[in-house]
Structures are given as C-alpha cells and as structure tokens.
C-alpha cells in the first residue's frame, strides 16, 4: 500500500473508490438503457426517423428517466477517467454488456443466444485480466 501524503490517500482506498465508481457507472448505464428501451418499446407512437418523434418520446416517464440516468452515467464516467487510466476503464466497464444481456433477458424477455453468452463470458475474462493490472499508471499513482 502506498503511504498517504498530503491529499493522496492510501492505494487500497483509491482502488476501492475506483471500483465503486465503476460499479455505479455500469449500474446507471444499464438501468438507463433498460428504462429507455422499456419506454420506447411501450410507446404508442409508430417508429419514425423524425427528431420530433424522439422529442415526443421523451415525455414518457420511462424514457425521461432513461435519458436522465444516461446523462448521469456520462458524468460518472468522466469522474472515473479522473481516477483511472482510459486503457483500464474501457475493458473493465465492458462488463456492462453482460448486465445488459441479463436485464434484457429478465425484464424485456429478449432472446439471448449461446453466442451472446459466450461473448459475455469472454468479456468477464478479459475485464478480470485488465482489472488485475494497476488502475492508474500515470502521474503520482504509477
């Protein structure tokens, strides 16, 4: 563990906070996408390419909630990039694909093929491998 100096907190503490923000980002994005998909699928309007269609869809509570959660997820990811490397954040947050497959199957009754499950297993293995490296290799925490 790196000794604390000034505002620098111990490395274990930093790692725990980084993973807490990773978990928050993944949850916000997954629930945001789920709410958005739920609202769009239950929308009474016919699908259209018109921007007005999307603006009207935002009046739906589920769609509005989804958009709000996705905006929060963008801000959370920015905070995460202040704590960890981009090359760490990218693969580790790909775990969101696994959660999306699970939520899609559970709540939207989407078909998840064997190929998709194989893909999710690979994502978990790759993310675990990247997660075993130091989360920040630039600046004072290198």
């Amino acid at each position: 563990m790196i000794a604390s100096e000034g505002s620098l907190k111990p490395r274990g503490d930093h790692l725990a906070r980084t993973y807490a923000v990773v978990a928050l980002f993944i949850a916000l994005k997954a629930v945001g996408n789920l709410a958005l998909a739920w609202g769009m699928k239950h929308s009474s309007e016919a699908p259209s390419a018109s921007p007005l269609h999307y603006l009207r869809a935002m009046l739906d509570p589920a769609v509005a909630l989804g958009v709000a959660l996705l905006i929060l997820s963008v801000l959370t990811r920015m905070a995460l990039l202040s704590m960890a490397d981009l090359s760490f954040v990218l693969p580790v947050t790909a775990i969101g694909y696994v959660l999306a497959a699970f939520l899609g199957k559970t709540f939207l009754h989407e078909a998840v093929t064997a190929q998709r499950w194989t893909g999710t297993v690979l994502i978990v293995i790759g993310a675990a491998l990247v997660g075993s490296t130091s989360e920040s290799t630039t600046g004072q925490r290198a």
Binding site: A49, A79, M83, L90, P91, G119, I125, L129, V130
Partner: protein, 119 residues
C-alpha cells in the same frame, strides 16, 4: 454510406474518450456525490477540450443512431468496438499510460467478447 458512418462513429468515440481522459487527468480526482457532479459540470463549462469531447460524443451517438436505422444492431455493436483498439493505442502513445501485455491481452479478449455479443 455504411462505412462512412462507421468511420465517423469510431473516430468521434476515440476523440471524445482521449480528450476526456486527457482533461480529467489534468483536473485531478473528481467525486461522484451531488457536490462533485456540480463541480464536474462547472469544469466542463470551463475546459474547451471537455466541451469538444461532448460534441464528439454527440456525433458518435447520432452516427450510431443513423447506422442502426439502415444496418442491423449485430453489425453496429461489433463495429463500434473497433474503438477499443485505437483508444488503447492512443492511451499508450498519447496519454503515456503503461499498457503492458496483460492489459493488451485482456482488451483483445473483451474485443472478441463484444464482437460475439453483437454478432
């Protein structure tokens, strides 16, 4: 048109993430509490690279939306994952991150996983 949209989407994603990472590292560690998020919004308004990054994010989002209107999601999702390769390379050479063999292999496995999820 399909490949123009893919190039636009991937380039915009890569530019947005590299710019965000560069600026956020310079700004110091941010928190995700209510005060932290307000501070973050103020930071976005002050830093031109962050404003540019959000512009790129919007281009990436609308390119993706345009792509899925004409192409299946099973093409669009794996195509968007191409950004992992470019971003990892730029993280190494532009952001000066230490990208070792374990991180490269892990990222390639994730890339294969994303391609299968979308495929």
């Amino acid at each position: 048109m399909k490949w123009v949209l893919v190039v636009l989407m991937v380039s915009a994603t890569v530019a947005s993430d590299v710019l965000q990472s560069f600026e956020m590292k310079r700004s110091g560690e941010q928190s995700v509490g209510a005060r932290g998020l307000v501070r973050l919004l103020r930071l976005i308004a002050q830093r031109k690279f962050l404003i540019l990054a959000i512009g790129c994010l919007a281009v990436s989002f609308f390119s993706f939306m345009a792509l899925v209107q004409t192409e299946p999601l099973s093409f669009a999702v794996p195509a968007s994952a191409a950004s992992y390769v470019f971003e990892t390379a730029l993280a190494r050479f532009v952001l000066k991150e230490c990208v070792g063999p374990r991180r490269i292999v892990g990222t390639l496995i994730v890339l294969a996983g994303v391609a299968l999820v979308g495929g």
